[in-house]
Amino acid sequence: MVAVAPLPDAGDCRDCAGNLERRVWALLDELPDPEIPVISLTDLGVIRHVRTMPQGVQIGVTPTYTGCPATAMIRSSVIDTLQAAGIAPVQVVDVLEPAWSTDWITERGATALRRFGIAPPRRRSAPILPPACPQCQSTSTEQVSEFGSTPCKSLYRCCECLEPFEHFKCI
């Protein structure tokens, strides 16, 4: 658990109406992704909705990669965090449609990744260019492996500063 993303200001309220929804969003904004803890679940774009129910809340979560083992951890950390804040019961539902893509990662999330040393994905509509080195910003980089330590990353090397780095795959 490293840097925690700053809380959204009061105006950043997405589609929520009530105080409870705002509180839930604020709590989720602080929840780190289990595998890349510098990015919050909301900045990763996996929280699809927060709904207040007659009792408790329902959270819609979408998986990043279908086989990502973090999905189960995300689910339990959402439940644990909200319950610890006195919000119960918490129901987590899977939302597959529309499918998650790296375009769901927020600008703030992309910046957090870059600072951590992971080259963020390009926007899917952007031209396909090698990712810039997160250390020295050189665009002279080469791919070492299309797959990396987690399903979402590939491995690169910077031809300028020679540092290896991970790239968040664009899907």
Partner: protein
């Protein structure tokens, strides 16, 4: 089918069977790919094959859950994966084949990837909204896999004399298992007519176009698929499936209900 045309109703059992075929093909391939972990020729490829396995497993979990809901038995993904016997599995015979050498596994992977891409493309428009969502999600991953496996096919085929010979031998021996991927049976036809399934002729046309291009670039010969291979999607498997299941199901059979 024209907009507004009447679609044939598909019996639930047929619909469930169709989804189960897709699920089992991903599941058994995930298990085979997992065998490579710690054994691939280089660290990067070890990571690659392990990641492919993970994606296949993810697809299988979503599809198995959906199949269990459709068939009315309410079986969970785990019950379907661990408590069915060989003849109840509906995967293509191709994916249960032993890994062989690296070329063998990569040719098998290419054959499946080049099938999954047009298949998931078509299924993204299925009237079964859950299946359409799973297909749209999996399509992104399948495209990435196809780039990986076709890249390797070219590197191996257009590589050394040894790598070329081994890759050609793998294609020659595995091609017969591709026949069932494109020959529609009653289940495929019913699901196509009902708007649930894909048109296998279109899938085959896309597969062939890609395979001809990649094999040509790899300086390999794309063999013709002869008749007579087992039809895994109907439950007629090769001897190898039993060994895969033994490894995969051992824990749950010995300690039913065990959890992490």
């Amino acid at each position: 089918m024209p907009v507004g045309a009447m679609r044939a109703a598909v019996p639930k059992a047929t619909h469930a069977e169709y989804v189960l075929r897709l699920a089992d093909t991903s599941l058994i391939l995930a298990q085979r790919l997992g065998e490579w972990v710690g054994h691939a020729p280089a660290l990067e490829e070890d990571l690659g094959l392990g990641n492919l396995a993970l994606d296949m497993l993810g697809q299988a979990r979503l599809l198995l859950t959906h199949a269990g809901q459709l068939d009315g038995t309410g079986r969970s993904e785990d019950e379907l994966a661990f408590f069915r016997d060989g003849p109840q599995f509906r995967n293509f015979t191709l994916v249960e084949q032993p890994n062989g050498d690296f070329a063998h596994s990569l040719v098998r992977q290419y054959f499946i990837d080049a099938w999954q891409v047009p298949m998931f493309q078509a299924l993204s428009g299925s009237v079964d909204e859950d299946l359409a969502a799973i297909a749209a999600k999996s399509l992104r991953e399948a495209k990435y896999h196809l780039r990986f496996s076709s890249g390797w096919l070219v590197r191996l085929g257009d590589g050394t004399h040894e790598s070329h010979a081994r890759t050609q031998a793998a294609a020659d021996s595995l091609i017969r298992f591709t026949r069932e991927m494109f020959e529609p049976d009653a289940v495929d036809q019913a699901c196509l007519d009902g708007g649930i399934g894909a048109d296998l002729r279109e899938v085959q046309a896309a597969w062939l176009a890609d395979a001809r291009r990649v094999f040509a670039e790899a300086t390999l010969r794309l063999p013709e698929a002869p008749r007579g291979a087992p039809v895994g999607k109907q439950g007629a498997h090769s001897e190898y499936l039993g060994y895969v299941l033994t490894g995969m199901q051992f824990m749950q059979r010995s300690y039913p209900g065990a959890e992490w």
